[in-house]
């Protein structure tokens, strides 16, 4: 990037808000995704939506890529810089602008930390349910861009269920407002849903209006241990089938239990084959009734031990430990590659078994845990990126895992997004016309391809005439394109 562009960026935001030192560039070359990195040419810290707008206009003029970034906890490489790019740092926009107690909404800046929003709204007896494992550091902007889920997804849904309105700077620099405080609103296309989960490729969020709900009156956190994952899986299925919807229904396999115990020292039995972390919430009487039912189901399915958190503090500890499962697995081996395969929830036991089988076949360690209640699994390979041979095996194993998930009607990502990490799997899940639909949206909104281009899919393929509609046809056409 030439000095002229840097100077123009400095004119927009001020000299000290454009960082070009090699140390700063290195510090923004990665996010939480393993083995992915890229050096940006500069880091720019905008302070107003107008700054963002001007930066994007300049990018269209000078043809460089703009990569929005929250806290960089993303797990698909969404904020990893491409070449010829700048990082647009949004993590300092930390104001909660309004908490509307009458309409139950919160208007926030995109850099607000998820857990901080929780704390603030809970002071008013309100509740913002999405709680990704990274919530102590992830930003709301990043959550919206990835449509983040969390431990409470089963009962309360994911980020998109709570976004009411957005102020967005489009790739060409226009600032638009969509949505609002209306509970019902069907004016025009449902643009919100296109932008939520767009992984920073279709617009930069500068304000976010969120829906809040009343805080559940009470809750209870339970732990059940099993000899095998199969029994745990059966328990999950039975709980759902008995029409109880816990707020949280998470499972951990033996490898994960051991790592979590090593980190959190909670006194978990490290020889248990699997554990379920279950939280029920709501009216105290209902909580009472549901936890009793759950206990019975656990016992029936061979639970070896069953525990109820004695205090709020203990419950919090358990949930925190679960949230750190991913990072705790890093204790075993240097590199930890976490995946995000998701299947319709009745297939959870089958998928878990298959993952173990694949790991055994390739002789690699895969720890497994996840949001059992909603079918979102996180098979996590424990490896060493310096060991090229093993890395190859890991890649092959994940390929098979995704194939199997898709075969079961699942998806290649339940919450982390496609980003850079899963680009190559996207076409396994979608037929070419569906991907071309996405590409068309991107092309129309971002004709110069300046906003986080290179993530989710390649822009390239655009064949004339009739589109092939299945994977087989595409392969047949493949030669024509090259």
């Amino acid at each position: 990037m030439d000095a002229k562009v840097i100077r123009r960026l400095e004119e927009i935001v001020g000299k000290e808000k454009v960082l070009t030192s090699i140390e700063n560039r290195i510090a923004y070359s990665y996010d939480a995704t393993p083995a992915l990195a890229g050096l940006p040419d500069a880091i720019v810290i905008p302070e107003t939506p107008e700054h963002v707008s001007q930066i994007l206009k300049l990018a269209n003029e000078e043809k460089f890529i703009v990569v929005p970034r929250g806290s960089g906890t993303g797990l698909s490489g969404g904020s990893v810089p491409s070449s010829n790019s700048i990082v647009l740092l949004m993590n300092r926009w930390r104001k909660i602008l309004e908490i509307d107690k009458e309409n139950l909404t919160a208007l926030v800046e995109p850099g607000v930390i998820t857990a901080q929003l929780h704390q603030e709204v809970e002071k008013y007896g309100l509740f913002y349910p999405p709680d990704p494992g990274s919530m102590t550091i992830s930003t709301i902007g990043g959550n919206v861009a990835e449509n983040a889920g969390g431990l409470r997804g089963l009962k309360y849904g994911v980020t998109k269920n709570y976004v009411l309105g957005l102020e967005v700077v489009l790739p060409t620099g226009e600032i638009i407002n969509i949505g609002g405080k209306n509970v019902k609103d069907v004016a025009g296309y449902n643009l919100k849903d296109v932008l939520i989960g767009s992984e920073g490729t279709l617009g930069v969020f500068t304000k976010i209006l969120l829906k809040l709900i009343p805080k559940p009156q009470s809750s209870r956190t339970l732990l059940a241990f099993f000899n095998s994952i199969k029994e745990a899986g059966k328990t999950v299925a039975d709980i759902i089938a008995s029409h109880i919807t816990p707020a949280t229904l998470e499972f951990l396999d033996n490898t994960t239990i051991r790592c979590v115990e090593d980190y959190a020292r909670l006194g978990l039995p490290t020889n248990a084959g699997a554990l379920l972390l279950i939280e029920v919430d709501g009216h105290p009487a209902q909580v009472e009734e549901e936890s009793e039912k759950i206990e019975k189901i656990c016992v029936k399915n061979g639970a070896t031990d069953y525990k109820i958190a004695k205090s709020e503090n203990e419950a919090l500890k358990l949930k925190t430990a679960r949230r750190s499962a991913f990072a705790a697995l890093a204790r075993v081996k240097p590199t930890t590659i976490l995946e995000d395969a998701t299947v319709p929830r009745s297939f959870v036991p089958e998928m878990v078994e298959k993952i173990q089988e694949i790991a055994n076949k390739h002789q690699i360690i895969i720890g497994n845990f996840g949001h059992a209640g909603d079918g979102n699994l996180h098979p996590t390979a424990l490896t060493d990126e310096r060991d090229k041979e093993e890395m190859k095996k890991v890649e092959m194993a994940f390929e098979e895992i995704f194939d199997y998930a898709i075969k079961l009607g699942g998806t290649i990502t339940g919450e982390h997004g496609v980003g850079l990490a899963k680009k190559k799997f996207l076409e396994k899940q979608f037929a070419e016309p569906a991907i071309e639909f996405m590409r068309n949206i991107k092309r129309v909104l971002d004709p110069n391809g300046i906003l986080n281009t290179g993530k989710i899919f390649e822009l390239k393929p655009r064949c004339e005439g009739r589109l092939p509609s299945s994977r087989e046809q595409i392969e047949k056409y493949a030669n024509l394109w090259t």
Partner: protein, 443 residues
């Protein structure tokens, strides 16, 4: 020259999840990734890989870090961040990249390394505090003195009238049959600035039936030097202590300053490649038996005082106690065991106060921003006394409270315990008086 490679195993353990960012005081000052644990680890990695030379900015980042190790406590992946930043500093120091190295070396090797010089300087400072200070101010020389020097003067707490190692004999026996034989580290700062804390500590140990050994020739523990990268002098001092303390057969070495205790627990590691087998073994043994005083008393089932102290207190976790030694509940248990004492938990109690060795002198501005946050939290507790178990934190918080114009006392938990013991026996007039003084300060 010794191989200065930073072990790559330590570096790759970090999976850049970012869970450590919210607890890092420096990241929370500027919200820049390079000033976060994750960013610093990445910079260290690039330096090790040869992709980044040791730049000024890199050095600055390594010393901007407080080495508070809060990031290490929350890291689910078990990254040994403290080891990483310390080895990076050793590298900077030994390769001669640190511009302040000469000054630091002088301070470390001349002032700290010799007890004699340290005490001589302390005596001079004492004299200065008593008379010259006023004189200088009167004739207004302070206007021309360098700013940093003035600050050192302000930051330094009052030097005690008598140094503890000059009051305490080498061996002290409890009143009755001794149950434990313990060594006691008088330290450098504790010895000259908080001499009374050392005396309280020894008295409390005696009260708990310990025979106390205070080796005459003990040295400074070496922690400050090690944290700034001067590992050579740190090792020399450690060796001296290892030899001195190994002269007695001790059940424990009791330390009342968090930073010193943390470092003595690392002596074994420091000498793990030592060729002299007996020294290596001794070092290991010292590490094993070193205990923080709160930890030790808790373990031996300390004597519960039964005199009531009508006080509202709070507790600040010293980084090297909470994050390095993982001691958080013991001091609280000790404080809560004193009848009548109302304990108020301090918000963000494990957040660094900004003292961090000599950080508050070398990086005054940053240190003060961090201190302000601490003082704000302390004031919110409405306590009468802030308890903390490290001389650095003690002085820093005292300074912060003074700056804020608040009349709140800072104390070591063990001093409070000693007051309770004394009240029980209605013995020591001074201590009882200091308690009464607190009560008088109430409106």
């Amino acid at each position: 020259m010794k191989d200065l490679k930073i072990p790559s195993d330590l570096i790759v353990q970090c999976m850049h999840c970012g869970m450590c960012l919210p607890v890092c005081p420096t990241y929370n000052l500027n919200f820049l990734e390079k000033s976060s644990p994750r960013g610093r680890i990445r910079l260290i990695k690039e330096v090790e890989d040869g992709a980044l030379p040791i730049t000024d900015d890199f050095i600055d980042e390594m010393y901007f870090c407080l080495d508070c190790q809060a990031c290490q406590t929350v890291c689910p992946a078990g990254v040994k961040y403290g080891k990483l930043v310390e080895s990076a500093r050793i590298k900077i120091f030994e390769l001669g990249f640190d511009r302040q190295a000469l000054v630091k070396k002088m301070i470390f090797r001349i002032v700290f390394a010799s007890k004699f010089v340290f005490k001589m300087i302390a005596r001079f400072v004492k004299l200065y505090q008593k008379s010259i200070s006023k004189f200088i101010r009167k004739i207004k020389i302070d206007r021309v003195l360098p700013e940093k020097l003035i600050r050192v003067e302000e930051l330094a707490p009052k030097i005690s009238d008598k140094f503890s190692d000059e009051i305490l004999p080498e061996i002290l026996k409890p009143n009755g049959e001794a149950k434990y034989k313990v060594g006691f580290l008088t330290g450098c700062f504790m010895n000259v600035m908080y001499s009374e804390i050392n005396i309280d500590s020894v008295e409390v140990l005696l009260e708990n039936m310990c025979e106390v050994y205070i080796p005459r020739n003990q040295a400074c523990c070496g922690s400050v030097m090690a944290h700034y990268g001067d590992i050579k002098i740190a090792k020399e001092l450690a060796k001296k202590n290892i030899i001195e303390f190994s002269k007695y057969k001790l059940d424990a070495i009791v330390v009342n300053s968090a930073g010193c205790g943390a470092f003595m627990k690392e002596y074994g590691e420091l000498f793990k490649d030592e060729k002299d087998e007996s020294l290596r073994e001794k070092a290991e043994n010292i590490s094993e038996i070193t205990k923080d005083i709160n930890e030790f008393l808790y373990e031996i089932g300390f004597k519960k005082p039964n005199a009531e102290l009508d006080l509202k207190v709070t507790y600040h976790d010293a980084c090297h106690l909470a994050h390095t030694q993982k001691i958080t509940s013991q001091p609280r248990e000790i404080i809560k065991s004193i009848p009548g004492v109302k304990f108020v938990e301090l918000n963000e109690s494990t957040w660094c106060c900004g003292s961090a060795g000599i950080y508050n002198i070398l990086r005054y501005e940053d240190s003060m921003k961090i201190l302000d946050r601490k003082i704000k939290n302390i004031l919110e507790t409405n306590a009468e006394i802030v308890l903390t178990a490290n001389p650095g934190c003690h002085a820093q918080i005292e300074y912060g409270l003074k700056k804020a114009g608040v009349n709140m006392k800072v104390m070591h938990p063990i001093s409070l315990l000693n007051i309770a013991y004394k009240m029980m026996k209605n013995l020591d007039k001074d201590l009882v008086e200091s308690y009464n003084e607190i009560l008088r300060n109430r409106d």
